[in-house]
Symmetry: C2
Subunit: 372 residues, 2 copies
């Protein structure tokens, strides 16, 4: 029986455990997970093959593999917290999130799972928001709720909290940067409890995981990925909300921004987004008018990565050597690697996967990679 990512098929309990072990193993991210699953046909086989991949990738030490006991322990703790795991391809998995190319293989969900089946609008902004910004967030969030949308945000102080609070009844989703038992900021735990009956909290991180700084940008791709469009209210230059906006753009989501005075540093980011083409928003209808026609469209087909269609070819020793020799600390394009190594794209991808699993590869944006 195959574990290949397929729509509409539920995992068995055993398969779910294997998936959890694989995604919780060292050096395995959502993209690597998907490549391995598609190559090996099941997480079980992939787990057995991990030491081989790491060895071929030249790992100085083998990456830690999540044990069956650890995975069972996480499942048990999750059950106690009321958290369930939804696997990529299962019917409950949020339809739009499914389409991003680094969608989490397993989404840990707490609250009312049905919320995830509805269309969502993301609403994010400053943690140290102005009173006007908070008021605007509440008003527009309520209007989105009245229009039948679920509001998704990051449970941060300021704009995020205002957006969740205003939609506690109509339905809202909080995406966490850490585990479900490590809610950040702690002051928003009561708010989270308040939104769960009609909403949900989701996370891709393990239980017990305290969020580090780098986990927030990573989390932001899920906020935009769940939504049809992203509305940014008050964002300074170089703020996390702008990362969400960038990810939304990369994921093909509509980006909306609320304008403000040129003298207000909290509006530099949003004004800048509008300059770059985001839609200016002063009321909910500005957003709804753009999103309504999109909802009517069928979802695009899942982006199948080239390596997902068939098992990867095995490079011979000299090919591997040639490709690794072309890599260094300076990021290089995968296209250039293919051209310069004179290997097939599939071979290059295989070698990069080996290096990935060996913990030796860093992937940058735009198809660039470097050695760690």
């Amino acid at each position: 029986m195959s574990n290949r990512v397929q729509d509409g098929v539920r995992l068995t309990d055993g398969q779910r455990l294997d998936w959890l072990r694989l995604i919780r193993s060292e050096n395995i991210g959502p993209r690597t997970f998907r490549s391995l699953l598609n190559h090996h046909g099941s997480a079980r086989t992939a787990l057995d093959a991990l030491p081989g991949w790491a060895r071929r990738g030249g790992a100085s030490r083998p990456g830690r593999i999540c044990s069956l006991e650890e995975a069972e322990q996480e499942l048990a703790s999750a059950r106690k917290l009321g958290v369930s795991f939804i696997a990529l391809g299962e019917p409950d998995y949020p339809a739009r999130l499914r389409m991003i190319d680094d969608a989490p293989p397993l989404l840990a969900v707490r609250g009312n799972n049905a919320t995830l089946a509805r269309s969502m609008i993301a609403l994010v902004g400053s943690r140290n928001a102005s009173a006007a910004g908070m008021k605007f967030a509440e008003r527009i969030a309520r209007d989105f709720g009245d229009a039948g949308f679920v509001v998704v945000s990051g449970l941060a102080r300021g704009i995020d909290a205002a957006a969740h609070r205003a939609t506690a009844t109509s339905g809202t989703v909080a995406v966490l940067a850490g585990g479900h038992d490590r809610v950040y900021p702690p002051e928003n735990v009561p708010l989270l409890e308040q939104i769960l009956p009609n909403g949900a909290a989701v996370s891709e991180m393990p239980l017990g995981w305290t969020p580090r700084a780098q986990d927030f940008p990573r989390r932001n791709r899920l906020i935009s990925g769940l939504a049809v469009g992203v509305v940014i209210i008050e964002a300074a230059q170089r703020s996390g909300s702008l990362i969400t906006a960038r990810m939304a753009n990369e994921q093909g989501r509509e980006v909306f921004a609320v304008p403000g005075s040129p003298f207000d540093p909290r509006c530099e980011g949003t004004n800048g987004l509008i300059k770059q083409g985001a839609t200016l928003v002063t009321e909910a209808e500005d957003v709804l008018a753009v999103l309504r026609p999109i909802l009517g469209q069928q979802l695009p087909l899942a982006i199948e990565e080239p390596d997902s269609v068939a098992p990867l070819p095995e490079p011979d020793g000299s090919e591997r050597e040639r490709i690794v020799a072309l890599l260094g600390p300076t990021p290089v394009g995968i296209d250039d690697l293919v051209r310069l190594s004179q290997s097939s794209p599939a071979i290059v991808r295989t070698v990069l996967l080996e290096l990935d699993i060996a913990g030796r590869l860093e992937r940058h944006g735009g198809g660039f990679v470097s050695l760690v």
Copy 2:
């Protein structure tokens, strides 16, 4: 000798008097002036022909024709005030204003005429501006001055005054809605005196003319017409600044707007303009980056109206009757008039000109006309 509108030719003193008499005569606006001049070849001949036009147009009483004495009187008063008249087509006439299809035949100018030869940016906004809006106006006006541009505005309270004040040294042009001896608002007379040494005040209205409410929108087309681009800072819904923006659009000028909070009624107009496609501005460079390439382009050729190429044909009585019968108080398109009357476009234009001069025609936007 012909008075036809030609570039680069100066009028004789006698011709200038005739032009002044014609444009100061009843029912003669800039468009009618141009049609008459192009039909008759000179303002002198047009003046003699006015009673005939009015009669053919069915005037209940002939329109008042400005006498030679009145015109000489205005020229003398103007000279005393330091006001000179620049005629459309003369070398000093502002190059961009020349291109709008209702450019004033005579522009009354006070101050430093050379200012009008430089590239201009219009800066307009609320009369009851916020402190932040005034501060922004001063800052961006100064930056435009530093970049070599003349700032043109309407001498109103608030944003206009701030823009003029900040560019009193670098060069600024105030466009008046009344005569040069009827400056509005009176409190800005000292500011006007302050900008004249390095700038100018311009008006198309007669000396002694106290501006009425309807003269301000009319004036606004000159503010946008003089400029390469128009920047709007703080504008409420249905404000005069939005009229300037609309005229700028119709004239093919670039429109820029400064954003603000959705809660600030003074920013509803500017946020609305950005939604409709105006460029969002938070600093001078946002404007300069758009305008620099435009300055490099050659000015478009003057829009020659179809009736300006040759004398108009004379309609016979039945044609005139048929066309007038098609008109009523409901605006109708000139195209439809041509089609329904089965007359030539030139004949229809002639009849409309007759009605115009008879004071019986109202011209609406988009080529629509109705009987008064």
